[in-house]
């Protein structure tokens, strides 16, 4: 530790004292702005706060101007169910009967590459605290994972670590994991994507917001002690060159303590229900810098914090480090003086450490003192919200035309029935289409006893109210290849898939959360992808009538600096939430009974650009993604929801990656009930060949199984609604119980052979 504490007075007296603003990731003009705002040089502690809060991660300085688009496209009607929109820790959606849910997806990409287990674990822990900060009880998690090539040695390091990290945290904290994605693509080599979603439920009256109101109210920090974790972690370039800090080596990696967080959840809920909390905020990226400045700027006064009262794990931490520390499992609450005793009694009951750090003042400023000396004295808004806003240049890359011109038409297609059969089996076992069981069997999907659907069904479904069985369905989907080929359409297609998955489960889609994983915003081509994707998403949300309620942006996902070429596939991961008045009505994706008619909904075109077939069979990515018709998606969803309400179908499965062949495979393998499919009518109707029918990835399609006695009502309904529907087969347990996926007059695959092909891939690579 250097001797002189860098107080506000000292800062005023030593205007020319050199400061490490560069190492902290600030630009010269940003540092100048801080000096203007304060009308003096910042202290070391102030510099720490501004630098983390003005970082890309916290300030969204590159993406802000584009994210506004989401707001611009939210109509009156879309507001109907929205209790809290973008801007708070997470959006809150009214699902009726006095219940609301809050949900959000967030990335923890970079930390998960450095230390896969802890990176993924703390990613799950972080998003759970966002949900708690709304006053909700977390009820489920999901995870969307993207890794490099499945056979790359480093993938064998990252995958098991990330998966056991997601499971290790979620299982120990007692939240069911109800879905997600696992995708392999070489562009994620060295830059995996780990996006975690959490959903929570609350009664309307329990809604809490992050603000510090009421002069004299106390500011309490509770949960884990503060250590040197992640200083300069996700928020800024690592830096050990604070002039007020010794040479101390601080860990950039944070270690999670799910047990501490489980106790914190129960403790927070008891505090909420006892009415002991005025405002609450989680501590995540930027730690105390973020929590104090956001609480204060959302409040009606100033705030005084005695930093020396923060319980420390490492007593050698400097004020700057305490402000920047990203130690996990901490929360901050605003409590009235009258309640503070009761508050501390509850934290004591749960063995949770708590410290009263300070209070809400009638001033305008956030003041932080260190043993009585003022080290921070700033207008909180300037830290939390008035960060820099960039108009990054963006331009459609030259290479885009060539990419779109290189269509899959030139790729050799399977001609004979034998080749079709072999292709179907190879596809079923390909890295991205094979069974995810190796991953999902490491996740507890039963805890809490409310899971009505989980992996491998299209959406996860959990009960919110045990009395009425009111519940929600969620799906998390992204398609980086489609988005690479056409960011605007690709992003909208990802939304459409999640929306379709939720409807297939029988739920009425209500709201959206998104995690936008892109490369460097300093590359105009990447920035163009980002701008286009946001546009496509915002417009599609408006057309489908589902508002974006919150999300997360992760930039700089690239391994080199030659712009687009070293960036990951542009990957918007979209979570759609739907509601079911009775989750017992949910529609599963697998067939249980023989003799039911299988209908294909929607029409199939020759659309293989960016398809799993082109990639898995030919390593090809080019052309245009499938066309998107949102009015049709809406109609399809309406029909699927009505089918579940009226009990017209026993199973529904959306068609996405791998097309009809993969959907049939998954529905067969779910419970081992086979199917006899006839394609000829479909080929005539849509004017396509058998290969296209099986592997095209045209959007807006699903397969449903209909009990004989409902067939008439079902077809009448589809006809009345004007939805293309065609009976393509019948479920079949096979004579002598030898069920198979049988494409009539072409080929047949016994279920056992299909299962072997589907199940073997991940275990073969990861043990």
């Amino acid at each position: 530790m250097s001797t002189a504490l860098d107080t506000v007075t000292r800062a005023a007296d030593t205007p020319d004292h050199p400061q490490p603003w560069k190492d902290l990731g600030l630009k010269a003009d940003e540092y100048e702005r801080i000096r203007e705002i304060l009308d003096r040089r910042p202290t070391g502690a102030e510099l720490a706060m501004y630098s983390v809060m003005w970082s890309e991660h916290c300030s969204y300085k590159s993406s802000k101007v584009h994210l506004r688009t989401f707001g611009d496209h939210v109509t009156e009607a879309m507001q109907e169910h929205l209790m809290v929109g973008i801007g708070e820790n997470a959006g809150v959606v009214d699902i009726g009967q006095g219940w609301a849910v809050t949900f959000k997806v967030e990335s923890h990409n970079h930390p998960s590459y450095i230390e896969p287990y802890q990176g993924a674990a703390t990613g799950v822990g972080g998003i759970i605290r966002d949900i708690m900060a709304m006053g909700a009880r977390p009820i489920a998690v999901m995870d969307s994972l993207r890794f490099g090539a499945i056979d790359h040695p480093d993938t064998a390091r990252v995958v098991p670590g990330v998966v056991s990290g997601v499971g290790g945290y979620g299982n120990c904290i007692g939240l069911p994991n109800i879905g997600g994605e696992v995708v392999f693509d070489p562009t994620y080599q060295g830059n995996p994507l780990v996006n975690a979603l959490c959903v929570g439920a609350l009664k309307h009256e329990d809604l809490h917001l992050a603000n510090a109101r009421g002069v004299g109210n106390l500011v309490v920090l509770f949960g884990a002690r503060t250590g040197g974790d992640g200083i300069g972690g996700v928020s800024v370039l690592a830096s050990e060159t604070f002039d007020a800090t010794g040479p101390s080596k601080r860990p950039a990696v944070q270690v999670g303590d799910p047990f501490q967080e489980k106790v914190l959840i129960e403790c927070c809920l008891e505090l909420f229900h006892a009415g002991l909390v005025e405002g609450i905020q989680d501590l995540g990226g930027a730690g105390l810098s973020c929590a104090t400045s956001e609480l204060a700027s959302a409040g009606d006064g100033g705030m005084l914090i005695h930093l020396d009262r923060v319980p420390l794990r490492d007593p050698s931490l400097s004020p700057e480090e305490i402000l920047m520390s990203e130690s996990q499992e901490r929360m901050m609450a605003v409590v009235t003086p009258a309640n503070v005793e009761a508050f501390l009694a509850v934290t004591a009951k749960w063995d949770v450490e708590a410290a009263v750090l300070g209070e809400v003042t009638d001033g305008e400023h956030l003041v932080v003192q260190w043993h009585g000396e003022t080290v921070v004295d700033v207008p909180p808004r300037t830290v939390a919200h008035d960060g820099p806003v960039y108009q990054r240049p963006y331009a459609r890359p030259e290479s885009q035309d060539a990419l779109q011109a290189d269509t899959p038409d030139r790729l050799p297609r399977p001609g004979t029935d034998e080749e079709l059969r072999a292709t179907l089996l190879r596809m079923a076992g390909s890295p991205n289409l094979s069974s995810r069981a190796w991953v999902t069997d490491q996740y507890d999907r039963y805890v809490m006893g409310g899971t009505a659907l989980a992996t491998p069904d299209d959406a996860g479904v959990v009960r919110v109210d045990e009395e009425t069985n009111l519940g929600v369905a969620l799906s998390l989907d992204g398609n980086g290849r489609f988005t690479r080929l056409d960011p605007r359409t690709g992003a909208a297609l990802s939304l459409a898939e999640a929306y379709r998955n939720v409807a297939a489960a029988g739920a009425r889609p209500l709201a959206v959360t998104d995690c936008l994983n892109f490369g460097s915003p300093e590359d105009p081509g990447v920035m163009w992808q980002f701008a286009e994707a946001v546009q496509g998403l915002a417009v599609a949300c408006e057309e489908l009538g589902v508002p974006v309620t919150g999300g997360n942006v992760s930039l700089y996902n690239q391994t080199g600096d030659d712009g687009l070429n070293s960036a990951v596939l542009p990957t918007p991961v979209i979570g759609v939430l739907g509601v079911l008045d009775d989750v017992r009505r949910r529609t599963p994706s697998g067939w249980r009974e023989a003799g039911q008619s299988v209908f294909l909904l929607g029409t199939t075109r020759d659309e293989l650009g960016g398809s799993e077939w082109a990639w898995a069979e030919h390593g090809h990515l080019g052309g245009l993604p499938p066309a998107l018709d949102l009015q049709h998606e809406k109609l399809l969803a309406d029909v699927l929801v009505q089918c579940s309400r009226d009990g017209l179908v026993d199973a529904a499965h959306d068609l996405s990656d791998g097309g009809l062949a993969q959907a049939l495979t998954e529905s067969v393998l779910r419970y081992g009930v086979g199917v006899r499919v006839g394609l000829d009518e479909l080929l005539d109707r849509d004017g396509i060949d058998a290969f296209t029918a099986l592997f095209s990835e045209s959007a807006g399609r699903a397969i449903v199984s209909v009990p004989r006695e409902e067939e008439v009502r079902f077809t009448d309904m589809c006809t009345a609604r004007g939805l293309a529907h065609l009976r393509i087969g019948v479920t079949d347990t096979g004579d002598d119980g030898q069920a198979s996926l049988d494409v009539q007059g072409r080929f047949s695959v016994p279920v056992a052979e299909l299962r072997e092909a589907h199940a073997a891939t991940l275990p073969r690579h990861f043990g």
């Binding site: 299982n171 007692g174 069997d441």
Partner: protein, 225 residues
Amino acid sequence: MKVGVVTFPGSLDDGDARRAVTLAGGEAVALWHADADLRGVDAVVLPGGFSYGDYLRCGAIARFAPVMSEVVRAAEGGMPVLGICNGFQVLCESHLLPGALVRNDHQKFVCTDQRLRVEQTGTAWTSSFTAGQEITIPLKNGEGGFVADAATLDRLEGEGRVVFRYLDGNPNGSLRDIAGISNERGNVVGLMPHPEHAVEELFGPGLDGLGLFTSVLSAGLGAIA
């Protein structure tokens, strides 16, 4: 009849266990780890979860909770006690049941619908099953491998104290495919799989888990009558 469900810091399936007791027709009573008080219950369930994070050894710290001294005393007096997963581990750590549970042989957490055979229907928790009945309930744990020395295993087998056995392959390396055991008297039973997750249609693999809870209720009624 009152069935107490203990909540330790880090218990996860306590709510599910209370729900199962209620659905089976009993009265569920929440018990708190820090209170050395069983609140007049007729039976006790130690639920699944990660008490104290399972950090040192599963159940090692929970075993010393104030409520446990009461549970041990009651168990020795013949009160029915069921340990599920983490609860099973606590019972072993407390020496109410022999053996111990170690890391799964494949080193991974596993969550799956597990088929079991009910080997012993003479316990307080299995009387409503039929001998040899095959049931399916969820299994979810990272440290479910049951171990004990050969002599102990032989005694367990000999005395008919192996209550549940894994079918269709051993999911975690448990010796002799043991999924659950009982004490001599048959009032204390521990198992790794989760019956409380199979008590409601559509919220689990079926209703096979209810049997454990209905068993103890009828046993209790018998006692009262």
